[in-house]
Amino acid sequence: MSSPLLEVKNLSIRFGGLKAVDNLTFTLNKGDLAGMIGPNGAGKTTAFNLMTGVYQPTSGELLLKGKSILGLKPFEICRKGIARTFQNIRLFKSMSVLENVLVPALQNVQYSDIDCVFQTEKYFKAEKAVHEKCLHLLDIFNLGKKADEEASSLPYGEQRKLEIIRTLATDPDLILLDEPAAGMNHSETHSLMETVARIRKEFNLTVLLIEHDMKLVMGLCEKIVVLDHGVKIDEGNPARIRSSKQVIEAYLGVEVEA
C-alpha cells in the first residue's frame, strides 16, 4: 500500500454559472469498495464523467497511480485502467452478448489489420485467447449460455450484469458503477451486491459506485463520499455517514424546532 490508486484533488467543473462539481477531493486506495451518494442533481454522475474524461474539469487534479490523467480522452483513460458503466444502460444493443465483451477485451490485444487480413498465426492465437477470456468472464456470471444472443434480448438485470462484465474485460484497476441497481427489484439488487463483492475479490479491483439504494450502499461499501450541490459534505464509513448531521440535512432538510 504505497501511493493511493486514484487521487481526486480540488476537482471543479462549471457549466456556465453552475458549479456542477465544486472542489471535490477524495482518494481511493487499492482494494477499496467505496460508494458515492447524494440527492438527485448533486453532481455524482458529473464527477464520474470527469474521472473518465468525458468532461474536462475547469480546475483541479486527477491522479491515477500517481500520474495525471487530466486531458486524456475517454478511451485512453479506459486503457490506463478506469472502466465504467452507465446510468442508462449503454450496451451495443444489436451485437451479441459475446461481441459486447470482445470489443473492450480486444483493445489490449495487439495484432494488426494485416495479420487479420492474411489470417496469420498471431491472429489465430490472439483470437483464441481473447475468445476464451471473454467466454470465461461470461461463464463466471452464468451468461456463458447466452453468449450468442442479442444483447438487447437479455432481461434488464442481466443487461446490467453484462455492462459490468464489459468493464472487467478491459482489465481495469478501478471500476466506476453508475447506479448499478437502478430499476432492479429486491432479489436482483441482492444478487448484484454479491456480484460486486465477488468481482472485487476475484479480480483484485477497486470499486466506486453511485447508488441511491441506501441499504445496498451501507451494506456493501466501506467508505462513502457524500455530495450535495456539487460539494463534498462528508466522507467516512457507513456508521459515520448514517449519523452525520450534514448528510441528514441534505437528504431530509433542517430540523425545525417546534
Binding site: T52, V54, K73, F75, C78, F86, V103, A105, D113
Partner: protein
C-alpha cells in the same frame, strides 16, 4: 499460411469458371454488364464498411471513385508504348496507385470531418464529392469538362499456345480486385478487432468508454473504403475507356448508397446481391420496353425499391450475412 488463401483461391477459380462461361455463352453486351456488376460490387462493398458497419453516413463515394479513375487514366497515358503483358501489369499498378491516392484523400477528408456526426458528415462528404468534380472540370491537363477519351483498355494476352481475349483479361483483373476487396473487408469485420467498427455504430459513447479510439476507427474504415472506391474508379476507366467529370456526379454516390441500404447496412453479402440486382435489372427490363413501347424501367426500379423498404426495412439481409442465415436455417448442424 496456406489456409488463409484457401477460400480466396477457391472463390477465384469459381469466378474464373463464370468468366469463361460468359465468354463462350453470351454476347459482348452481357459481358460488359458483368464487368459493370463488378465495378458496382466494389463500390457497394466498400461503402458498406463506412455506412453500414461503422454507421457513418458518407455521400461522397463518387468523389473517391473519380480520384482513382483519373489517376489510373493519367498514369497509363504516360506509357503509350506498353502493350500486352506489360500493359496488363501496368494497369494493375496504376489502378492500385489510384486506390492509394484515393485512400490518401480519404484520410485527409476523414481526419477532420469524422468528428462530425450524422447529417453533418453527410454534408461534408457530399461537398467533397462536388469539389472533386468541379476541380476536375477546371483541370486542363486532365481534359477539363471533356474528360479523358480513348483510355487504353485491357489488352488481349498472348500465352503462346492460346490467346486470352480482352474480355477475359479484363475479367481476370476485375475479379482480382473484387476478391481482394471482399476478403479484406470480410475478414476485418468478422474478426474480433473488426467489432470495434460495429461498436462505433451501436453506441459511440460506450465504445469510447470501453477503450475504442472511435475517431481512429472511423478514419480507418473511411480510408479502406475510399481505397476500394478508387480501385472501382480505375477499373471503370479501363472498362469504359472514357471518363469525364460528369461520370462522377452526386447520383453515382447515391447509387452506391442505395445498393448498401437495399442489401442491408452491415451485410457484405447483402451488398453483393443488391449490386448485382441494381446493375442487371435495368438491363433485363430493356426487353419490356420494346414490348410496352414506353420506358417503364425507372418506374419498376423505384417501385421495387419501395417494396423492399416496406417489406424489409433493414434491407434484404438486415445486418446478417448470407452464410449466417445458411448456418441458421438450412444447415443448423454444421
Amino acid at each position: 499460411m496456406f489456409n488463409a488463401f484457401k477460400t480466396p483461391i477457391i472463390s477465384a477459380l469459381a469466378l474464373l469458371a463464370v468468366g469463361v462461361g460468359f465468354y463462350f455463352g453470351v454476347n459482348a453486351y452481357v459481358q460488359l454488364t458483368l464487368l459493370y456488376v463488378f465495378i458496382n460490387l466494389l463500390m457497394a462493398m466498400s461503402l458498406n464498411l463506412v455506412n453500414g458497419y461503422t454507421g457513418q453516413f458518407s455521400l461522397g463515394h463518387a468523389g473517391f471513385m473519380a480520384v482513382g479513375a483519373y489517376t489510373s487514366a493519367y498514369l497509363v497515358q504516360q506509357v503509350p508504348s506498353f502493350t500486352g503483358f506489360a500493359l496488363w501489369f501496368f494497369l494493375l499498378f496504376s489502378i492500385a496507385a489510384g486506390g492509394l491516392l484515393s485512400a490518401i484523400f480519404g484520410f485527409l477528408v476523414g481526419q477532420p470531418s469524422l468528428r462530425l456526426k450524422g447529417d453533418y458528415l453527410a454534408i461534408v462528404t457530399l461537398g467533397f464529392g462536388e469539389i472533386i468534380r468541379v476541380a476536375l472540370v477546371n483541370m486542363d491537363f486532365l481534359g477539363g469538362p471533356r474528360g479523358i477519351a480513348s483510355i487504353p483498355s485491357y489488352p488481349a494476352l498472348n500465352f503462346g499456345i492460346f490467346e486470352m481475349p480482352s474480355f477475359l483479361s479484363t475479367y481476370l483483373a476485375a475479379s482480382f480486385w473484387v476478391l481482394l476487396c471482399f476478403f479484406v473487408i470480410w475478414r476485418l469485420v468478422r474478426s474480433s478487432r473488426g467489432k470495434s467498427f460495429l461498436s462505433v455504430r451501436e453506441d459511440e459513447i460506450a465504445a469510447e468508454a470501453m477503450g475504442v479510439d472511435t475517431t481512429a476507427t472511423k478514419v480507418r474504415a473511411f480510408v479502406i473504403s475510399s481505397f476500394f472506391a478508387g480501385i472501382a474508379g480505375g477499373l471503370m476507366a479501363h472498362v469504359v475507356s472514357y471518363i469525364s467529370p460528369s461520370t462522377f456526379t452526386f447520383l453515382k454516390s447515391v447509387d452506391s448508397v442505395i445498393m448498401v441500404v437495399l442489401g442491408g447496412m452491415g451485410s457484405l453479402t447483402g451488398s453483393i446481391v443488391a449490386a448485382v440486382f441494381i446493375t442487371t435489372m435495368p438491363e433485363l427490363l430493356r426487353g419490356l420496353q420494346e414490348f410496352t413501347g414506353v420506358d417503364l424501367r425507372m418506374v419498376i426500379y423505384s417501385l421495387s425499391l419501395i417494396f423492399v423498404m416496406i417489406l424489409r426495412p433493414k434491407g434484404l439481409f438486415g445486418g446478417t450475412e448470407a452464410i449466417d442465415l445458411w448456418r441458421k436455417y438450412v444447415k443448423p448442424s454444421s
